[in-house]
Symmetry: C2
Subunit: 176 residues, 2 copies
DNA sequence: CCTTGACATGTAAAACTCGACATGTCAATT
DNA sequence: AATTGACATGTCGAGTTTTACATGTCAAGG
C-alpha cells in the first residue's frame, strides 16, 4: 500500500516516467522502500485509472511522463498527516546481523566482513549521489534523505567494526 | 524467504513456541524483520515437515516448543555464509520521512513530530529491553541488536530534531 | 461461578511482491 | 548494415504477507 504513496510523492515532486521512477527507487530510495519496475508500471496504471496521476507528456521510445494530480496530492497529504505510522520493517541486512551472532567466530567474521563491504559500497554510492544532488538543483527531498543516510550509515559501520573486532578477538584459531 | 531463517535462528538459540516467537518479533525484531503469528505458525509447520525444526516439548494450552535441528542449523549457516546479501528494505517510516519533505511546513511539522514521538517511544522500549536483557542471561544476539538500535536511533532522532527546527523556522505562520 | 484478559494456535481469502519472460526503440560503434 | 547496450514498458505465475475470522485454555479477581 505504501508503494502508491511513494509514487504519488515522486510524481508530485517532478513528472517522471515509469523507467525513471524505477531508477530512483534503485538508486536513492532503496534503503527506505524497494520496488521494481514490474510493480511500478501496473501501479502507475491503477493510479492513472483512479485519476491520482496523469500523463503530462510523451517522450522517445513510447515513454510517458506521469505527474500527480490535485486529487493525488490530496490523497498523499491525507495519508501522511492522518495515518498513524506503523513499524513493519523488512530489512534482510538487519536480520542477517542479528542472526550472525549465532554463528561461530570464523563464520561470523565472513558474514560481518561481507556486510561491511556492502555497507561501504553503499556509503560511497550515497556520497556520489550527494555530490550529484548538490551540483544540480534537485528537489530537497533527496538531499535530506541522503543526509539521513550519511548520518546513520557510519554508525552502523562503527557497530560492524566493533562486532568484527570482537569476533576476531574471540576467534579460537586466531593464533594458530 | 527470510522468515524461515529468522525462525531457524531463534529456535536454534533457544526452543520457543509460536506464540513466543511472535512476541519476539513484536518486541525485539520489529525493526529488522516484521512477522505476525499468521505467518509464523504455518512456517513452523513447514519447517517441521522438512525436518529443519522439531518439537522439543509441550506446555500448557496446547503449546509446543520448537527447536532447530542439526539440519536446520546447517541450512541457516549456509544461507548466512554463502548467500550474497540483498538490499530490499521496506520501511514505511523512512518512506514517510522522505515524502514529508514535500508537504508545506505546517503539515510537515505535524508528521515530523509524530514520527519523533514514535521514535522516542521505541527508544524507551529498547532501553527497557536492554535492562531486562542485562539482568537475566539472555542470548547475546539480542544484546548486540539492542546495542545497534541504541546507536542508530539517537542519530535518526537528531536528524528529526534538525528537520523539525528547519520546518519551524520556515513556517510562514510562525510569527503571526 | 462468572467474567476478563493474557495465553495459544490455527485457517482462508485478498492483496502485494518477485523473478522471469516478452517486446520493442534508439544511438553509437564496428 | 549489423550489432550492442542502454532505454522503455509491460505481463504472468509463483510465492509472500496481511487482515479477518475462528477457536479454545487458563489464572485471577469480583
Amino acid at each position: 500500500m505504501s508503494l502508491r504513496y511513494a509514487l504519488l510523492g515522486l510524481t508530485a515532486a517532478f513528472p517522471s516516467t515509469g523507467y525513471e521512477l524505477a531508477r530512483i527507487f534503485d538508486r536513492s530510495l532503496d534503503y527506505a522502500w524497494h520496488a521494481s519496475h514490474s510493480q511500478i508500471y501496473p501501479e502507475l496504471k491503477r493510479l492513472s485509472d483512479e485519476g491520482l496521476v496523469e500523463v503530462v507528456g510523451e517522450g522517445a521510445r513510447n515513454s510517458k511522463s506521469f505527474a500527480a494530480t490535485a486529487a493525488g496530492r490530496q490523497v498523499l497529504r491525507e495519508w501522511l498527516v492522518e495515518t498513524e505510522p506503523v513499524r513493519k520493517v523488512r530489512d534482510e541486512s538487519s536480520l542477517r546481523l542479528f542472526l550472525t551472532s549465532l554463528l561461530e567466530p570464523a563464520d561470523r567474521l565472513t558474514v560481518l566482513r561481507r556486510e561491511l563491504a556492502h555497507l561501504e559500497a553503499h556509503m560511497e554510492e550515497l556520497d556520489r549521489l550527494a555530490k550529484e544532488t548538490a551540483s544540480r538543483a534537485t528537489p530537497s527531498a533527496f538531499a535530506s534523505m541522503i543526509d539521513l543516510g550519511q548520518r546513520v550509515m557510519p554508525v552502523t559501520r562503527g557497530w560492524l567494526l566493533d562486532a568484527i573486532a570482537q569476533a576476531e578477538s574471540g576467534l579460537p584459531d586466531a593464533l594458530t
